[in-house]
């Protein structure tokens, strides 16, 4: 009855659902994404559920039960969703409730109630309970029920896993509007911040270093649209391995003092792991950290300190492994490190300063590395997925379910992409200081989805006259422009240079050049006066029909030409 009075604004949130941690975010009225803290004040909420007596604990409280009550504590379950028991790697679950075989795949057996038989909880059921708790935290914070959410998953999540996740969320009373990819969500969290209607075209590497796994993705960002070019995963590389490096370091120290290995006792190991994780986090913020555990093993307390330099040494191999993953994924995309314009570091482990500095060294200096250690304006790496999900949720909140389904259907997402950059070469008029070489201005980079259009302006001519505009397909190459030895000798004219030969390796200078590969069409703009600006617009339609419009700014007329697509 009161339909017209009711504000139709829906309350939607973004959920980043991780193996180790999950987070929830919403978009405020001014369009900014914010991550929500739960009742305990945590923004990174451990994906852990624990049963003690008749109580269900969640998040950090459940995680601390890993010491006293590991058998009834469920952790690291996300990647088990939709997998058969034979396909899972239970390594991470060794120190908590063990996964068991179940007709639907994987389950856990825990004592949910005092004086009752242990109950069997399927991974789907555990996921439902986890999402329910996340939803409750968000509803408490926002003061109203949540109507829907967008959840992020890794790029290697199967269709079956997505479907189960949707169902598990629905069972908790929360409708999933869309499931999106983690690296894409991280990229969206950054691009949404730029607040421009014409986002810069760039190729971005998203490196998500989580707790139990590391995922790398190369994404082409063209006109604000994203295309995944390559992905790669390492399931045995993450924050846990960094924790283990500290665990081993402190264990050796403890053994020296007390002749007991705290790793041999489950409870001691659980204590040490938890504290090492906290110590690692401190080392991301300060250059030294303390660790102090009461009654670690054999009744002995343990106090020690570690500095960042030592930690960097202990984890050097792991950082090398991350670098290897980066090189491999860029290679998989058929690219060079110099093709990457921006690196986004996501995931909790990306707070580690050494990782960011190694990545920065790996890439050319003009590649932006978005991490707290390399850019003071970088967003919190732990919050990226949730923010991106919240932004996407707010964009589609008002859509009907049918609209969302149609818009995300392969019929719409599968799109022709340009294999080569398309640009314009304006012939420098003769007499212009002998600079006869053509300069290619790239309008549409390779991997741009069509239809697409771009506009740019040039100073038409330095001397006045006709301007020849050539529309070209270009190629980009890395060229070794290290000055050759002979040139050096000629200029210096001395023999001493011969001694420098061995240093040559270090002095290599690589430059990116764009060259004309194929001229598509030519247009002639007549009688352009000296210094007048020329505006050129290129439009490539869905069938690869190319249209060019060129005109002198402020002038009359101009030229327009069309190159039909091949199909015609």
């Amino acid at each position: 009855m009161s339909d017209s009075e009711e504000p139709q604004q829906k309350t939607v949130i973004g959920i980043a659902f991780g193996n180790s941690n999950s987070s929830i975010a919403f978009t405020s009225l001014d369009g900014k994404a914010e991550v929500i803290a739960n009742e305990e004040g945590d923004r990174q909420i451990p994906s852990v559920l624990s049963y003690v007596g008749d109580e269900e604990y969640h998040g950090a409280q459940a995680k601390s039960q890993l010491i006293r009550n590991p058998k009834n504590t469920i952790a690291y379950f996300r990647d088990f969703l939709g997998k058969s028991f034979a396909d899972i790697d239970p390594t991470n679950a060794h120190s908590s409730a063990h996964p068991i075989q179940h007709e639907t795949g994987v389950a856990f057996s825990v004592e949910e109630k005092t004086d009752a038989e242990p109950s069997t909880l399927t991974v789907s059921e555990v996921t439902t309970r986890h999402i329910k708790r996340l939803q409750e935290s968000a509803a408490d914070f926002l003061g109203k029920p949540i109507d829907g959410c967008v959840i992020t998953v890794p790029t290697d999540f199967s269709e079956a896993q997505r479907k189960l996740l949707s169902e598990a969320s629905k069972a908790s009373g929360l409708e999933v509007l869309q499931i999106i990819h983690e690296p894409v969500a991280s990229l969206l969290a950054y691009t949404a911040r730029e607040e421009t209607s014409h986002p810069v075209d760039k190729t971005v590497l998203v490196l998500d270093i989580g707790g139990t796994r590391t995922d790398a993705a190369v994404i082409a960002s063209r006109g604000g649209m994203f295309t995944l070019l390559a992905t790669q995963h390492d399931y045995e590389l993450g924050g846990r391995q960094f924790d283990d490096a500290l665990v081993d370091h402190f264990s050796k120290e403890f053994i020296k003092k007390h002749k007991t290995d705290p790793r041999e006792n489950e409870r001691s190991l659980a204590k040490l792991k938890l504290e090492c994780e906290a110590t690692k986090k401190t080392l991301s913020l300060s250059t030294s950290a303390q660790i102090s555990i009461e009654s670690l093993a054999g009744g002995f307390d343990f106090h020690s300190t570690v500095n960042r330099l030592r930690f960097d040494l202990l984890s050097k191999k792991l950082v090398d492994q991350i670098v290897g993953l980066v090189e491999s994924v860029v290679n998989k995309a058929g690219m060079d490190l110099t093709d990457i314009n921006e690196v986004i570091l996501a995931g909790g482990t990306s707070h580690t300063p050494k990782i960011a500095s190694r990545i920065q060294q790996l890439f050319p200096s003009n590649t932006a590395v978005q991490a707290p250690a390399t850019n003071p304006n970088a967003l919190n790496p732990s919050e990226l997925s949730a923010r991106g999900a919240a932004i996407q949720a707010s964009l589609i909140a008002e859509f009907e379910a049918e609209d969302i389904e149609q818009s995300t259907h392969p019929a719409v997402t599968v799109t022709p992409h340009l294999p080569k950059p398309i640009g314009v070469a304006i012939h420098s008029p003769e007499g212009d200081e002998g600079k006869a070489e053509d300069k290619v201005y790239v309008f549409l980079d390779a991997e741009t989805a069509v239809p697409a259009r771009r506009t740019a302006t040039f100073v038409g001519t330095q001397v006045g006259g006709d301007v020849l505009i050539r529309i070209v397909e270009a190629k980009r190459e890395s060229v070794d422009v290290t000055p050759p030895k002979e040139v050096k000798e000629k200029t210096n004219g001395t023999d001493e240079d011969d001694d420098d030969d061995e240093e040559e390796e270090e002095e290599r200078v690589i430059k990116r050049v764009t060259e004309v590969e194929k001229v598509i069409a030519e247009a002639l703009l007549k009688d352009v006066k000296k210094g007048q600006k020329v505006e050129v617009m290129l439009n490539v339609a869905g069938d690869l029909t190319l249209t060019i419009t060129a005109r002198v700014i402020g002038g009359k007329g101009g030229i327009r030409g069309t190159v039909p697509g091949r199909a015609q």
């Binding site: 969500a185 994203f226 964009l395 799109t415 022709p416 598509i520 002639l524 007549k526």
Partner: protein, 52 residues
């Protein structure tokens, strides 16, 4: 200064076609994708879309 040579009629001359495109999956995320999907579903061009 010498003018560029122009033996063709009119102001426009076609030499080649664009290379065959590769078909890839766009990520259905972000405001620009949603605008793209809207255009594609309603078979609109950029300029038609601008006018709305």
């Amino acid at each position: 200064p010498a003018e560029p040579e122009w033996p063709h009629e009119g102001g426009f001359h076609i030499l080649e076609h664009l290379s065959e495109p590769t078909h890839r999956n766009l990520e259905p995320v972000g405001p620009h994708y949603l605008a793209h999907a809207r255009r594609k579903r309603h078979h609109r061009t950029f300029s038609e879309d601008d006018r709305i």
